[in-house]
Subunit: 382 residues, 2 copies
């Protein structure tokens, strides 16, 4: 199989990730922070090691401000609902995934004021229009680091600088960038960083997290089951306990710990260079095929390893099925949970076919995919 | 190691659970419901199989009304916050875990009326006092199936019958019973069943779920990232999509699927009998040791496989540490996240030492534990 659906879930995983998970189950690991016996202590120490690895990866000085979640959607909900109250104003952009858009719409119905800043048709947001949209009651700016539809990268650092000058918190949705594009929370002025474990971080599904800088305090989404302040009727005030309710996904975190260790050794910058080369090859190849429309930033601009295209007049689902049938290519057709982004780039009626290489994708995989697409395009010429 | 902390996390796991998880990572499994390629379809089909296995285990007619969560705490928060609105009245019992108590206290601060019905010092709730506590605006009764502190079992079926006669929903916290004591949602009149995957169900940490009967509709706790109704700004109205936001813990669910399959083959009734025998042996042995106080229902009453005790005048943490040092016993001292229960049984100042056997505990493990406790008791006689 030629796996080009890394933007949904990365695969394959680095060596040792599967083993780290199954070891937790076979050799036993208790509940971290719930008691003091050996298995429980081992779990707590592994979980803390994973926090430290993630902190190193993102330039975070205080690993305990990283709270594990079950995925990026949970992290985004936690951040959005943990900061915003009735009467607050929040900014987001017209490229958002529904993991940001839906919680914001839900809050809008409960008295939070929402402004969706328009990105250009390629998905790039103009910093000046963000500045113009800021109001007296703006409390939060949500920034999608890179679009899961077309890979467009937002100027996070610049937006963060503006946010901080105005005393506004910035939440970054790093679903498509954590582990594949370098992130430094201090240099980029990030207050809240939401990330999945199973995409660029190369860990298992069921993992993710939220970094909460000391400039921000979040109301919890869930209470109880922390194992700390056991006799109190209230959630602990300190992190990560405040936001980590219920038994953690210890096997998942063990897998993530292993994959982040791999990334630290390899270096995210190197992954980014590799993925950029693959993406450029893919884009250049697609643009040579007649009848193909490629969406997103022009080829010379930086983008995440996400490429969306359509073959003139052909249903994306048909295209994806044909690519699988002919060349065993796994890719993803449709709207990618991001209706706003499709409205912005004008593909709301059809969706697109999305190809997303990963750090283990080979150049020959891209060539095979391009040949299969070219063949299909030739058969369906107008 | 003699593992007697199954009430926190069960261990060992049945054969094949670790392998089922690591297979997901090594052979690849995509995002269920996100696209149509083979890996994604395989994931979706495995997740559905796990829902069907759980439905069979709990007598649930509609597997799609089972929604996966990351643990029982999340399931309880979802159910409690998804049902109750300002002005509603809710009943719980004085044995609750803080996964129920803390969300209820949080809602009380937002205008929900809360009555904590007193259990007797052994943890048993009098059904008549529940009936007396019901008000015109009672919307929900939360029942802890079995206490995680002393194993006391509540008369769920009887409470459910009363709830249904009055048109009140019943939420059952099956954290200590799912997989180790038979549960039938229809016979027991259960509207909402919250369960962890990593305790009696013998699956991995990071799994759990909530069953939502068709008599109840829950507001979601999180929105977005469903992959269904992709172009809508709102969460889907249908289950499980309504409550399953973000990528599921596919490896965890694969492990749970395997462990539930094992339980279906073995039969929960047989697990219950086995654990009851071990628990009786443990209780009888403890009661023969001078200086030991055992808490909870008297020995002839049914209880879950959870035994709490104290050794006169000795800190439970010291006792647990000594049991580990002398006989490599893993158990749990303290308050077990259940301050209310300790107030009810009068151990709020010290906590207790908790021993919790599991289906793989051997009779000789119990004997070794009893010898170690007897030795310690003899050394600390008044």
């Amino acid at each position: 199989m030629i796996y080009l659906d890394n933007a949904a879930t990365s695969w394959p995983k680095p060596p040792g990730v599967a083993r780290a998970m199954s070891n937790v189950l076979s050799s036993g690991m208790g509940n971290p922070g719930r008691t003091s016996h050996r298995l429980s202590m081992e779990a707590a120490s592994m979980v803390q090691e994973c926090r430290e690895h993630l902190a190193q990866l993102f330039g975070i000085a205080t690993p305990l401000r990283i709270c594990f979640t079950s995925n990026a959607t949970e992290a985004l909900n936690l951040a959005i609902k943990g900061v915003l109250s009735q009467g607050d104003h929040v900014l987001c952009f017209s490229m958002e995934h529904n993991s940001v858009w839906r919680p914001l719409v839900a809050l809008e119905e409960r008295g939070v004021e929402l402004t969706v800043v328009e990105a250009d048709p390629n998905g790039i947001t103009d910093v000046a229009s963000i500045e113009r949209s800021i109001k007296r009651n703006t409390r939060l700016i949500v920034v999608l680091h890179a679009s899961n539809v077309n890979g467009a990268i937002q100027p996070v650092g610049e937006i963060g600088r503006i946010a901080h000058e105005r005393g506004i918190a910035m939440l970054v949705d790093a679903a498509q960038t954590a582990g594949s594009i370098p992130i430094d929370v201090e240099a980029m002025h990030i207050d809240l960083l939401a990330f999945p474990g199973h995409k660029g971080l190369l860990g298992p599904q069921g993992t993710g997290g939220i970094y909460v800088s000391e400039r921000v305090n979040l109301r919890p989404l869930k209470e109880g089951g922390t194992g700390s302040d056991s006799t109190s009727p209230h959630q602990p005030s300190y992190y990560p306990d405040r936001l980590e309710s219920g038994t953690l996904n210890v096997p998942g975190i063990a897998g993530l710990n292993q994959s982040v260790r791999h990334l630290l050794q390899k270096g995210v910058a190197q992954v980014a260079r590799r993925e950029a080369t693959l993406t450029q090859t893919l884009l250049a190849g697609l643009m040579r095929i007649g009848g193909i429309t490629v969406y997103g930033p022009s080829v010379e601009l930086a983008r995440a390893a996400v490429v969306s295209f359509n073959l003139r007049g052909i249903d994306p689902v048909f295209v994806a099925n044909e690519l699988e049938r002919r060349a065993d290519i796994a890719c993803r057709p449709g709207w990618h949970c991001a209706a706003l982004a499709h409205q912005t780039q004008g593909t709301q009626d059809t969706g697109t076919v999305r190809l997303s290489p990963g750090p283990f994708t080979k150049t020959t995989d891209i060539e095979t995919a391009l040949s299969a697409i070219a063949e299909l395009a030739a058969e369906h010429q107008a």
